[in-house]
């Protein structure tokens, strides 16, 4: 496989984890966030600072990125407790702006000059920047994030998230403290995004503030909604298609974003549940072709 294809696959993998992590907050817990790129950035910068300023090896700053971003995400989730729906969207937007402004204006984070010379990870003595080993690393993380998402969806935490998403007040009435679970959602979602940030930083080798702006948050949310928010398969497919699309659309290079935007509008008009959402045309088709054959008497009559 050529280095080009591998690098695209690596970026796609990183964005898949971003979409999956946002899905936990937005798809499961129903907290629509337009600031996810902030957590991506916090993870990337944490790794960058630890690597460049403190000479820490990859594994240290990768784990640290996850933990620290999770903690910061939990804290940043606090203002969100008092707001819902559209206000929450704007608050998360605001968090994104403030975080990027801090990266840009505070010298410790490199300011406008960013942080460069982030070393490649080394594992048992072999360094690998890019190439198949890094691909495996990234997609290993994808599997991990997917597993976490799957586990949450089946667990008590996931049920609580679901309850909050559907009706916060009703959930509170049966003893599910919305505040507590919202914080969990922010924390977990942020932590996983932080890991993605670390992988990104070590792959590219440099971090600059403008990579993590609000526009990127929009892109990530679009992937989740496009693929099918709240499902496990949706964000993965959404991220793969929308992240790889610019590469495939290079033949219509000049109009890539016009097509991208139009795609989003059309999808929302005709398949608002997402490409692989529960009631989507494609998902129904796949279920018919590959799903379990259960023919109930009523179904036969209906035919």
């Amino acid at each position: 496989m050529s280095g080009y294809v591998i690098s695209v696959a690596i970026f796609v993998g990183i964005w898949v984890t971003l979409a999956l992590s946002l899905n936990i907050l937005t798809g499961y817990a129903g907290q629509v966030s337009l600031g996810h790129a902030a957590f991506f950035g916090i993870g990337a910068y944490t790794s960058a600072v630890l690597a460049v300023r403190y000479g820490q090896p990859f594994w240290v700053d990768f784990i640290a990125a996850i933990i620290i971003t999770g903690v910061v995400g939990t804290i940043l989730g606090l203002p969100s407790l008092r707001v819902r729906h559209d206000f929450l969207v704007l608050a998360t937007m605001g968090i994104n702006f403030v975080v990027v402004a801090i990266f840009k204006y505070v010298d410790f984070f490199g300011g406008a000059m960013g942080l460069v010379n982030i070393p490649a990870p080394s594992f048992f003595g072999a360094t690998f920047r890019g190439g198949t080993p890094y691909l495996i690393l990234v997609w290993g993380y994808v599997v991990f994030v997917w597993a976490v998402s799957w586990y949450i969806s089946k667990s008590w935490v996931g049920l609580a998230f679901n309850a909050i998403r559907l009706d916060e007040d009703a959930a509170a009435a049966v003893g599910i403290g919305a505040a507590r679970f919202k914080i969990y959602a922010f924390g977990i979602s942020a932590a996983l995004a932080g890991g993605a940030g670390s992988l990104y930083a070590h792959f590219i080798g440099s971090v600059f503030p403008d990579t993590f702006v609000f526009v990127e948050s929009i892109a990530i949310l679009s992937m989740v909604v496009f693929g099918g928010m709240g499902t496990l398969r949706g964000p993965i497919v959404g991220a793969i298609i929308l992240k790889a699309a610019p590469e495939f659309l290079r033949f219509v290079q000049d109009y890539r974003f016009t097509i991208y935007g139009a795609l989003l509008v059309l999808m929302m008009l005709f398949q608002p549940m997402g490409l692989l959402g529960d009631d989507s045309w494609l998902w129904q088709l796949l279920k018919r072709w590959f799903g379990k054959k259960t023919v109930a008497p009523s179904e036969e009559v209906a035919q």
Partner: protein, 386 residues
């Protein structure tokens, strides 16, 4: 009959094998890659870079190409995003098999692509991205644009020694371009004993300068060193005029675009900028570039374009000098370059060991609605990157 056919076939086969050469065609076009942002917020600069590079290739090919072969420019849009530049770099190297690459993009994207070119041993030239770490990536990475640090120092020289002013206010854009420029300015200003009465940063894309102009007026400087791109500069300059700021405004190559004059209108009159594109130049390549760009695209060229144009010219020269398509020889040719005249913003005197270009830095003044020659700085100590 059969033997003759066999002989013919063998002959054709031998010729065919010879024609393909060892490891690649040597009669087809020579490919060089360019990535620049033609979509998104940086589309203006990306378009200038792309159009200028394409013009350079056209001109070179009309003159017979390089080493008897035509030059082909493979271009991609990176939207000024590091991850796109990173993938594009690999694509150019592996799929398009370019001989060398040019970055017509911003620092973040260029810095992401540089290590990939370096590792593959393919030379890459940064047209106008000024982050110092770009050339530090390795011995295959060169820069055409004047290092911001150098330009900043020239700015201080301009203010202190050429204009003879002492009190300066600094207003800088908050990205790496502005910060580098200001650092250079302040370093040399300290040497000259200039009095910096105010120093402020502002965000990229800012359109409302009136409050900060008020602060500047209160500090009463003789000159204002304001860094930014043509749109921020145009807003600043016209608002400064409205609010009554009379100090001399000094800009840099970020202003160097006909758009600055168009958007600022009469307020641009008298602004002096440090830049390398001399509209009044007698140098043949400069005149050629300015005329042909206007003829081809119907608008005046800008500094970003000139940088991309020169990057192509530099590569063509290096390939010709090396006499081969060997990337090591090409990089060597650039490193050993002396007094290269065939550029719009030259001459290129030489390259430092750090792969930064050493060339005279100019200053232009806006007079009668156009850029004109104001001064040229060629003191070696001043213009050499440290």
């Amino acid at each position: 009959m059969k033997r003759k056919t066999l002989l013919l076939l063998v002959g054709l086969l031998v010729i065919g094998l010879l024609a393909t050469g060892c490891g690649g065609s040597n009669t087809g076009p020579i490919k060089i890659g360019l990535f620049s942002p033609t979509t998104g917020f940086a589309a203006a600069d990306g378009t200038s870079a792309l159009q200028s590079a394409q013009l350079a290739v056209k001109m070179i090919n009309a003159d017979g190409g390089v080493l008897g072969r035509q030059l082909e420019l493979v271009t991609y849009d990176d939207g000024a995003k590091p991850d796109q530049a990173s993938s594009i770099a690999r694509k150019l190297i592996e799929q398009d098999k370019v001989l060398a690459g040019i970055s017509g993009s911003y620092s973040g994207a260029t810095r992401a692509a540089a290590p990939i070119f370096q590792e593959a041993g393919i030379p890459m030239i940064s047209a106008y991205a000024i982050h110092p770490e770009i050339t530090a990536t390795g011995d295959k990475i060169f820069r055409v644009g004047t290092l911001a640090d150098v330009e900043g120092r020239v700015g201080a020289e301009l203010v202190g020694n050429v204009l003879g002013t002492k009190k300066v206010a600094i207003l800088t854009i908050d990205n790496d371009f502005g910060v580098s420029l200001t650092d250079g300015f302040k370093a040399h200003a300290a040497d000259l004993g200039l009095d910096i009465v105010l120093e402020e940063k502002y965000p990229l894309g800012e359109t409302e300068f009136r409050p900060i102009i008020g602060k500047i007026i209160a500090a009463n400087p003789d000159a204002v060193y304001m860094t930014g791109y043509y749109n921020e500069a145009a807003n600043f300059v016209s608002q400064a005029k409205d609010e009554g700021l009379t100090a001399q405004i000094i800009g840099q190559e970020g202003y160097d675009s006909p758009k600055f004059i168009e958007l600022a209108g009469p307020a641009s009159e008298g602004v002096i900028i440090t830049t390398d594109l001399n509209r009044d130049s007698d140098r043949p390549m400069t005149k050629k570039f300015l005329e042909q760009y206007k003829a081809e695209y119907g608008e005046d060229a800008d500094m970003v374009g000139a940088s991309a144009f020169d990057a192509v010219q530099l590569l063509a020269y290096a390939i010709k000098t090396a006499g081969s398509t060997d990337p090591d020889k090409i990089a060597e040719a650039i490193a050993n370059l002396k007094n290269f005249e065939d550029v719009a913003s030259g001459p290129f005197l030489r390259y430092t060991p750090g792969r930064e270009v050493v060339r005279p830095v100019g200053a232009q003044i806006v007079k009668d609605g156009a850029f004109h020659f104001f001064h040229e700085f060629d003191d070696e100590a001043l213009i050499t990157a440290q």
